[in-house]
Subunit: 141 residues, 2 copies
DNA sequence: TTTCATAAATGTAATGATTACAAAATTAAA
DNA sequence: TTTAATTTTGTAATCATTACATTTATGAAA
């Protein structure tokens, strides 16, 4: 749980003017590592900020992304999800229950062929499969 | 360049009845490793098959994917792309020119933490950055 | 060949996420 | 306070995808 002042300071450090909406949106992302969609963020915060517009959520999240405060995680086909975690991790999507799991991997050991003289800014490892819980559920049937 | 008979046989092997549309769509994917969108496939083939419907392209590509003949590559935020290559490779997206590059990586060395007892079906490595050509273009400015 | 049943393809309409845009509200500066 | 700039808001437009009903093609049986 980060307090508002810290959040405000982090926004400023990223060259983002800390408006109330921006603070609340960033706070939500920091306190909810659930790779939320725009709609999820909007619905949760609309309770606290009744005047909140979905366009604001879209604009704000895009702004955060451009300032490298959060990452755009391309897990689902049809919607953007965001992730505010700053440690390197991969995403596992269970194709049965739809849940998304974080996992760690040895990213330092990764070697690439074909990307000489390319600038690598963001690496994502995405795995699809069946999660433990679904796997066990399937066994019992 | 695969010939029609081979393509037909491959479809049958995947339990897919080889209709003319399906053959042409699969042929296009095999001969064009460009991670095409549905729209790209549709537009190219509409010239050869004037009656082709975009819905058919959607349905067919989904069918191919369900039968593990092709893969759904989640490179862009807003559209599905497909890949018929069967060797393991990653995708690099240049955030400047938008081009997508394939690259090889040492996938056998990848180790995961947090996915014990999970079934891993498909692993994707996606990198965003600046390609060599754009990097050099930027230098000269 | 004709008939019938099934599968595949087609076209249109609906959905839903995202974006464009202009107006309203807020903030900062003068 | 006045003014300008920034941020937020709401509505309308866009565009990829899907739903669905109709038409067409295919294949087997008579």
């Amino acid at each position: 749980m980060k307090i508002i002042q810290n959040i405000s300071a982090e926004l400023l450090k990223a060259d983002i003017k800390p408006s109330w909406q921006r603070i609340k949106i960033y706070e939500f992302l920091l306190n909810n590592n659930i790779h939320p969609t725009v709609d999820t963020v909007y619905k949760k915060l609309a309770k606290e900020i009744p005047t909140l517009s979905k366009t604001t959520v879209y604009n704000t999240l895009k702004l955060f992304e451009e300032h490298h405060l959060i990452k755009n995680v391309n897990i689902e086909e049809n919607e953007i999800r965001y992730d505010a975690q700053n440690h390197i991790h991969g995403h596992f999507k269970c194709t049965q229950c739809g849940k998304i799991f974080d996992f760690k991997y040895n990213y330092k050991d990764l070697k690439y062929k074909g990307l000489d003289d390319f600038i690598l800014n963001q690496t994502d490892v995405m795995i699809k499969g069946i999660c433990k819980s679904c796997k066990e559920k399937n066994k019992s049937n």
